[in-house]
């Protein structure tokens, strides 16, 4: 047994790890006869003792309630965002979120297309500008903000065709629900309401159920500063 062959064993011995019994006896015999290895073993043991002192003397600061609250808030936020997440993890959630955004975008585009088509029909039928205060909404949900309570598309309702031509029936107002794929509007951000008529099937997919069987319902859509829909409610 040479000094080089037991160098690693000396470190392990100093750290409290023991080789098998036979090798331990051989190392012990070598160290007894070798001053270099005996000194090295002493140095390694001193270093191990100092490392334990360093570890013991280095304490983490006391638990900071603010930091804990911040971490827990991050947890809560993640849970809110992943309400539809499958056990596969966040990647799957992102796919679902993307799909929800695409679906909601497609719905919004379809609604906008129908509204634009209807407004075109109105202009052609009437041969003049739309009545004051009843300007048709622009494409999508980036709508000029009417005052809350105004009834933008109502003037167009008699001219609607197909499913959208069905008369609206008064219904109970509801609470706001999140627009598919959207987050709640942050408290520090302002938004505006756009009242419009939506197909009942669309609002039903968002969890809103009209009290009566109608094809089209009135709804307030909460639009954020970026022009994206955040929430929707049914209105009487």
């Amino acid at each position: 047994m040479t000094c080089a062959s037991i160098a690693s064993d000396l470190v392990d011995l100093a750290r409290g790890l023991s080789p098998d019994a036979e090798r331990a006896r051989a190392i012990e015999r070598h160290v007894r006869d070798c001053a270099d290895c005996a000194a090295r073993l002493d140095r390694e043991r001193a270093l191990s003792a100092d490392m334990r002192r360093l570890a013991d003397d280095t304490l983490a600061p006391p638990l900071d309630p603010t930091q804990e609250a911040a971490v827990l808030a991050a947890f809560d936020t993640a849970q809110m965002r992943s309400f539809g997440r499958s056990p596969k993890g966040s990647r799957s959630f992102l796919k679902r979120a993307s799909a929800a955004v695409c679906v909601s975008g497609a719905v919004a585009a379809a609604i906008a297309w129908m509204l634009v088509r209807t407004s075109t029909t109105v202009a052609r039928d009437d041969g003049g500008p739309l009545p004051s205060g009843s300007a048709p909404p622009s494409i999508g949900l980036i709508v000029e903000p009417p005052a809350v309570g105004s009834n933008v598309p109502s003037a167009l309702a008699p001219h609607r065709r197909g499913n959208l031509a069905a008369p609206t029936t008064p219904i109970e107002s509801t609470r706001f629900v999140l627009w598919p794929g959207a987050d709640d509007l942050p408290t520090f951000e302002s938004g505006h309401l756009v009242r419009m008529q939506l197909p009942a099937t669309v609002v039903a997919s968002m969890g809103l159920t009209p009290t009566s069987h109608v094809d089209v319902v009135e709804a307030d859509v909460l639009v954020d500063q970026g022009g994206f829909a955040r929430a929707v409610r049914l209105v009487p």
Partner: protein, 200 residues
């Protein structure tokens, strides 16, 4: 509830993966200090250690479901995440870490000393060791911090570092040799030079 009734770290991580807030809070309170100390030993900066600790647990929220109990235990897994964050912090700062340049807004916490004189000498000696650890090359420092300061087994350290056990062992031994050489300069009495061959 007795100690044996406490859920293991692995149980808590599994529950975190299902959205259990209480499990997350429990693991944070239990392992925050370990993660902080690892980050502090690796970075030398309390501010960085704070940031890394927060980052580790925030990352845990999304990655709890990736934890595989059979591959590694929880602490090495958390250290592995912390290691990545320390590296990112280092890449961002691109500054060499030494205790003299480290953030001094909040000094590391020390245990209470009974004897002020002995305590001062001990603290100086410990500080010399702390500086020597911080001056180690990163690969050696990681092995020393995990194996000697956190007393992880070679297998757990290898899991944290994502390398072979033999690699951890050799890095640890090399790191300790460097530490001894540097401390010999700082404190010749405690770490005498090897005797010439044949000296009685």
């Amino acid at each position: 509830m007795s100690a044996t009734d406490q859920p293991t770290d692995e149980d808590l991580i599994a529950r975190i993966g299902t959205g259990d807030r209480e499990a997350f809070a429990a693991l944070y309170r239990r392992r925050r200090a370990d993660v902080y100390r690892f980050a502090l030993f690796m970075s030398g900066s309390p501010a960085t250690a704070d940031d890394v600790t927060q980052d580790v647990f925030v990352e845990l929220i999304d990655h709890a479901q990736r934890f595989r109990p059979g591959r590694a235990s929880a602490v090495p897994w958390l250290f592995g995440i912390a290691r990545n964050h320390v590296r990112r912090q280092r890449q961002r700062s691109r500054t060499s870490v030494s205790i003299g340049e480290a953030d001094t807004r909040r000094a590391p916490q020390f245990a209470v000393q009974d004897d002020p004189v002995a305590g001062l000498a001990r603290r100086e000696h410990i500080e010399a060791l702390r500086r020597a650890v911080l001056d180690l090359p990163v690969g050696y420092r990681e092995a020393v911090v995990l194996c000697d300061l956190h007393e992880l087994s070679y297998a757990d350290a290898a899991a944290a570092l994502d390398c072979a056990i033999g690699t951890v062992r050799s890095r640890l031994h090399r790191g300790r040799a460097l530490l001894t050489a540097r401390l010999r300069v700082a404190d010749a009495a405690l770490y005498p030079a090897p005797l010439p061959r044949g000296t009685p």
